[in-house]
Structures are given as structure tokens and as C-alpha cells.
Subunit: 202 residues, 2 copies
DNA sequence: TTTAGACTTTCTAACTAAAAAAGTCAAATG
DNA sequence: CATTTGACTTTTTTAGTTAGAAAGTCTAAA
């Protein structure tokens, strides 16, 4: 979950921020704490990041990018589209569990989330749609899938699985997901993917 | 959406409460207002309903029952299971739009909703799962569907479509759903149903 | 049995002040 | 020059506080 130790302050700040944001969320993490973690003063943080918001966005973006890159790297491989979907969803669930606090913002959003974060998460969603589009393209090119409306089906795909994730959070008041909830979600993901693929297969 | 005018006070209260809860939600509706609508004193309301919470629950339950009964009535008809799913989802969307304010509680729930309402909505969800189970049963009995795990698949069914609905609300800060969002949801419902049925068909 | 006026209790919205956290900057360090 | 910081200002959050509103109660009357 937390990778290599970095050396430069920029990365050290991101690392510490990531840990704290994941554990305590945006609101319950202070700039002073992050600075303290790596033996810097708060003022120094502002040398690297203009605002707390900026820092948070950077953490979220980077984590998401790492996640997407992992899948994207397989796009040009021989792995078939269906298997790519499987891998994508598998990793997506792990990402969901580990970074629930980051995306828990999307829960706060229901009330009164600053538009800037709404835009951030909307962008991440769009990037995932783009990735799914590419997988669909690959499947169509390989004659695995029908020649369908890629834009629509990738949007649908993301909507279904995001929806399933939300069902887990919606009832709860804590962010932590139990093993039972997680394994049910896993099973639902498998079933839903099976249906989705069957629905678009040639 | 709002049916026959009732005569007894019990029903008059429910009618007025329904209208106000749908339009303004639970918090923005006062017992005095409801009483005023039908020319009763607030104290009289408490003769029929012990608490505001009780009244609200009664309204939600009744509306949901009306919705479910409509579909349940078709269970013993010649309408095939697949068509029942179609009808169910069609009505479910209308119900969703018209009573968004009622179920908007499920949004408030994310923060700090009293467990009693959480239980209420959980019960409604369970009743819908039960209905879907019956449709599945019918399909299996008619040899339309595979002999699958009914409990699991009805839960999955509800999860998928509830999830899709949530995707619409999650971004918004208002409860009102635009025509564009609604028609996309309609289309997603159709696609998802198609896949679901294809996935379990014999 | 049903209703309502007058009542009490509970909740909420709007303030406040104090504390905490965000954010700034000139000077210092190396 | 790039980086860091202590001391600073500004903004936000929190914890009271209070007044008004709304929930909820009760007794007497129709």
C-alpha cells in the first residue's frame, strides 16, 4: 500500500500526507502534523504546495494515476480484454478499500462539498471511463466483443461498479469496510462482470 | 401520484403529510402545517400518530406498499418474468423520481441518520428483494431462467439498480432530477436489465 | 371518541468568543 | 539561490449560549 521511501522533501510531504489522509481523512489532518512527521515546519510545506487543497488533490491524483498506470501497462500486452476487465475490477476493489478515506470525500460531497473536489473526482471518473473505453476497443478489435457504442458502454460499466461500491458505504457511518461486506462486493463484482461481458460478447 | 381524496382524519393526515414530505422533506415539514392543511389542531394529530417519526414512517411504508402491490398483482398473471422485471424497473424509476424527497433521507443517512430510519429503508429494500425473488422464482418455474441462487441474485439485482440510482444523486446537491439525468438512467436500466436477463437465461 | 387550548420539553438557528488551523512573509541559513 | 523557519495575520472550527420554533403532553370540553 505504501511504497518506497522517498528522499526529496516534495515526495516526503506527499508520503506523509497520503498516510494521514488515508487514515484520518482530509478534515482531520492538519498541515502542522504533516510537517511534523518529516521534521519540517508548516511554513516549509507551503513552499511546495500552495494550499492544503492542492496537496490533497496531488495525493489523490498520484494514487489514482499509480492505480490506472498499472492496468494501462497491460493494454498493449497479449492479455485479452475480458481478463483486463477482471484485473481492473480486482485492483479497483483493493484501491477502494485502501483509499476509502480518500474517496470518502465523495460521501461528504452529498452535503456541501466544494466544487473543486467534485471536479477532481469527476475527472478521476472520466479517466477510468477512458481506460474502460480502451479495454472495450481492444476487445472489439480482437473480435471478442460486438461493435458497440464505446462511449456509452464504458460509462455504463463505470456506473454499475461505482454503484455497487456505493451500496456498501451508503448504510454505514464509518468508513471502514468489514471483511464480510468486502467479500460480498467481490462476489457481486464477479457476477456483474460476467453478465456485462456476456452481454457484449460476439 | 396523489390519489383519491380520503374522508377519515387518519387518511386525511396521511395525505397531507405525504404531499408535504414529498415536496419539502421530513425536516422542512412541521406537524402544525400538516394539521393546518386539514383544519385540525396539532394536538389532534397526536391522537392518531404518536410521533412525527411514526407519521413519516407510515407515509413511506404506505407509498412503498402501493408501489409493490402494483407489481405483485401481476405475479400470478401470464406476464413472463422478464417482462415483470421490465415493468418493475419502469415503475421503480417513476417511484424514484416522484418520491425522491422521501428516499432523500437515505442521503442524509450517510451522515447521522437515526437508526430507526435506516432500519425502515433497510426493510423496504428487503421487501423489494423479496419481490425480485418471486419474479426470479416465476422465471425459473417457467424454465426461462437457470436454476440459480435466488437469494443471491435478487440481492444482486437490487444492488445494481439501487447503485445506478445513487450515481445520479451522489453528485448533486439538490434532490430534483433533470430530464437528461432521468433519461440516461432509464437507458442504463434497460441495458443493465438486458444483461442481467441474458446472464441468467436458460 | 375526538378535539383543542394551554402547557412543557426538546431541538434548531443564530449569535458569540476562544481556540485551532490555514496561510503569509521577512529574515536567516547553507 | 533555493530552502527553511519563527512570528505573524487571516480564516475556519468548535464550544458555549440563548431565543424562538417545533415537538410533544395533558386536561377539560364537545
Amino acid at each position: 500500500m505504501f511504497n518506497i521511501e522517498s528522499t526529496d522533501n516534495f515526495s516526503l510531504i506527499l508520503d506523509s500526507a497520503k498516510k494521514r489522509f488515508c487514515r484520518y481523512g482530509l478534515k482531520k489532518t492538519t498541515m502542522t502534523e504533516i510537517a511534523g512527521d518529516i521534521g519540517l515546519s508548516k511554513a516549509s510545506l507551503y513552499y511546495y504546495f500552495s494550499t492544503k487543497e492542492e496537496l490533497f488533490k496531488e495525493v489523490v491524483k498520484q494514487e489514482h494515476k499509480t492505480f490506472l498506470n498499472e492496468i494501462e501497462g497491460l493494454l498493449s500486452s497479449v492479455v485479452p480484454a475480458e481478463e483486463l476487465f477482471h484485473i481492473y475490477l480486482e485492483r479497483r476493489l483493493i484501491y477502494f478499500r485502501d483509499f476509502a478515506h480518500l474517496s470518502s470525500l465523495s460521501l461528504e460531497s452529498i452535503n456541501s462539498l466544494k466544487p473543486v473536489y467534485a471536479r477532481l473526482f469527476e475527472n478521476l471518473r472520466k479517466e477510468e471511463i477512458r481506460l474502460v473505453s480502451k479495454i472495450l476497443e481492444k476487445g472489439i478489435a480482437a473480435q471478442d466483443f460486438e461493435n458497440l457504442d464505446i462511449a456509452y458502454y464504458s460509462q455504463l460499466f463505470i456506473a454499475i461498479f461505482q454503484g455497487l461500491r456505493h451500496n456498501v458505504l451508503i448504510k454505514k457511518d464509518t468508513i471502514n469496510i468489514t471483511e464480510i461486506e468486502y467479500s460480498l462486493l467481490q462476489r457481486q463484482y464477479e457476477s456483474a462482470l460476467k453478465m456485462f461481458v456476456k452481454g457484449i460478447k460476439k
